[in-house]
Symmetry: C2
DNA sequence: CTGATACAGACTGTATACAGGTCGCGGCGC
DNA sequence: GCGCCGCGACCTGTATACAGTCTGTATCAG
């Protein structure tokens, strides 16, 4: 029962191991706190120890694993507070991105592309049968956030944000799906989309401070989604890496 | 001519290699853009390829090296803009730390310790012969920033900030020494210290937004220092890792 | 004289062997 | 019955051998 998805010959063994191992952790096939044995991973991933080792180090840097004092790595467990803070930090960094974009001005093509994406999101949100297109919303949402980062034009910021998003449940659209069964879904998406419009407008008008504030608040929608998911645990399965979050005591 | 500082038997080879290699990069003994050959490092650091490889990966994650598409790593070069943005990001994260501390309240002992450090800094700054104690100022300043992070009580934020500080010239007190020959030194330290006091007061009063704003502005002092160092290149040598910054065209 | 090609050197990616340490389990003594 | 000690398995850290690839140079053809 080896990992099927990653079998390309083109990818290096290290990358292969990294992707497969991340998948394993995110899918919850390795229990939080549990040691990740190199040899077991060799067996499971079909590569030798060296690439496995590399993958372990990189995933620790990503924050999905943590080093064991006596050596080796264990799957990291996240408390509710940590997830909350991770979202807050992501929002802060996206706020900086928006401000940077506003302050030094975004290119016309970027602004145009962003606007096009927002139009596409409108099409998705305006439909009443939303459940079906949630995947599309997530994809478009991710695109918008990507282009926002591109407008900031700051490799350093990109690196930091990339790292913040490495925690899967902290990234912009990770928690959207949990609302799929919520009556508020339409409401939430409408509000989020309005924030998209506002931040883009702020960037166009060079209103840096406003752009920053909007993106910060925009990220806080994820807090509501998190709260929902924690009270309706069954919707938690829709979140990648949810297995890493320490369960709240059942109500 | 091997690296002398790191020769402890207690440290693992990997850590040894990491420290020594970082030192090499920061001291500018490896030119920016230049490939870092594993075998050469084996020779130079006195450890085998495996630990060297580990060290390379970790330093890439830190941001001091960058991966070469065809394989291996090169010393990263930083533009003036990147340094500016790195400082801005560090300030933003420290702002979040201050806000977190204010919002969920810092412990009495932390507040007390912070106040003690500020008293000690006052002693240093009030003296007129400042040059001598600049090292002490740097140390106390670092302590204050550390305790601020501790008050935030957020491992996730700590990780992100640690990473932001990994760029040596972005960390809180990295650029202080460049002002040692500046007539404005006393003025700058006085202002910085006042900001320290203000942020601590804001945290005590649970004024999160204010605490955040102050820390952001506090970090921007580093921008001035950077500007000074870039115009007075000879003072640049006082900054660790200055060799990585692309030189501005001489005036 | 210029451009392309082939070859040589070097370098990285990968696999594996070896040594030292750690953790857990079982047996023995109290 | 309980606690301590010792042994053994496992696991990581390290070193090194091997293969594929890239780069740079030199030579040859046009």
């Amino acid at each position: 029962m080896s990992v099927d998805k990653v079998s390309d010959r083109s990818l290096s063994q290290t990358v292969k191991a990294q992707l497969a191992l991340r998948e394993l952790v995110l899918r919850g096939e390795l229990n939080p706190g549990e040691r990740v044995s190199e040899l077991q991973m060799v067996e499971r991933l079909g590569v030798s120890r060296t690439p496995v080792r590399m993958a372990l180090v990189r995933l620790e840097e990503e924050g999905l694993l943590e080093a064991i004092p006596s050596g080796g790595f264990a799957v990291k467990a996240f408390s509710e507070k940590e997830v909350y803070e991770a979202i807050e930090i992501r929002g802060t960094l996206e706020g900086v991105a928006a401000r940077f974009a506003a302050e030094h001005g975004a290119s016309r093509t970027d602004l145009r592309n962003a606007a096009d994406i927002l139009d596409a999101i409108d099409d998705v949100v305006r439909q009443e049968r939303i459940e079906i297109d949630l995947l599309q919303y997530v994809e478009l949402n991710a695109q918008f956030h990507r282009i926002l980062l591109a407008m900031a034009d700051s490799p350093t910021l990109a690196r930091q944000l990339e790292r913040a998003n490495a925690l899967p449940f902290a990234s912009p659209s990770a928690l959207v799906p949990v609302q799929s069964r919520s009556p508020e879904l339409h409401h939430i998406l409408t509000v989020a989309q309005d924030q998209h419009r506002c931040v883009l407008s702020a960037i166009e008008r060079r209103e840096g401070s406003r752009a920053e504030a909007i993106m910060r608040e925009h990220a806080r929608i994820a807090h509501r989604n998190l709260e929902w998911a924690l009270t309706n645990q069954r919707d938690m399965d829709l979140v990648p890496g949810s297995a890493l979050i320490k369960r709240r005591i059942r109500a």
